[in-house]
Symmetry: C2
Subunit: 125 residues, 2 copies
DNA sequence: CGGGATCCTGGGCGATACTG
DNA sequence: CAGTATCGCCCAGGATCCCG
């Protein structure tokens, strides 16, 4: 106790996964694949605002990390299925904790922001 | 069940906190403050590689979000203490889950990367 | 000591066009 | 359908200087 997550070393580990999951799109992709196996276009349609480029890049990254599996069918037109690996599923579980925290405390954060901004507004013109 | 974190809406919530915690320095600052109250220079010394600018920016952001408290003493030379708020402490708890996942699975990720890169190396020259 | 103000650069990301 | 390739923008964040 005392030390939160034994600070420096553990914080580094945490940052490593934040670098994998904390980018703009990874979490959305992981979230969608948590529902079940999906095809490329399906993901593109469901993840609002993502470009085909970023979907490809994100999927490659996640595949490289062993979080997402890619299954290609040699047919015309091409068909590729994406799914979470077992490792990917454990990640979803881990992230669930953060989501819970978010749902529980996001209002407090918004309130704190409003308070902070209002105070700043009063101090200056 | 089935849906991991009821995908879209919850994934958005998760991204909101990832935007707060997932930047380059926030987690390090939070981690250090989890140990106890610290002064500006103390944090700067303990967080390797952070610039005074980014420490200031990060602290302001966390203060605005109600995660960090700032106490100023009107003395010369100035003295400012930073500490986690109660909300900040709950965040540390939530992040602990991710840290645990990191410690447990980071080796698997590294292995997956090596495998992936090796395979790519064999396919191309 | 604890910052602000400025300037500058890298690379993350979007837009667009082309392919098997 | 499922990508790859190219270009270019933007801004997070580093470096530097100054100030109460």
């Amino acid at each position: 106790m005392g030390a939160p997550f034994s600070h420096t070393p553990a914080a580094c580990r945490a940052r490593e996964i934040l670098d994998r999951v904390g980018d703009k799109w990874s979490l959305y992709v992981i979230s969608q694949l948590g529902v079940g196996t999906k095809r490329f276009t399906e993901l593109k349609r469901e993840i609002d605002g993502i470009s085909q480029r970023m979907l490809t890049v994100t999927l490659r990254e996640l595949e490289r990390d062993g979080i997402v599996s890619r299954t290609m069918y040699p047919v015309m037109p091409p068909r590729v299925d994406y799914a979470l690996t077992p490792l990917g599923h454990t990640l979803v579980e881990a992230v669930r904790g953060l989501v819970g925290w978010a749902e529980e405390h996001l209002d407090e954060i918004d309130a704190a922001r409003t308070t902070y901004d209002t105070r700043a507004e009063q101090v200056f013109g």
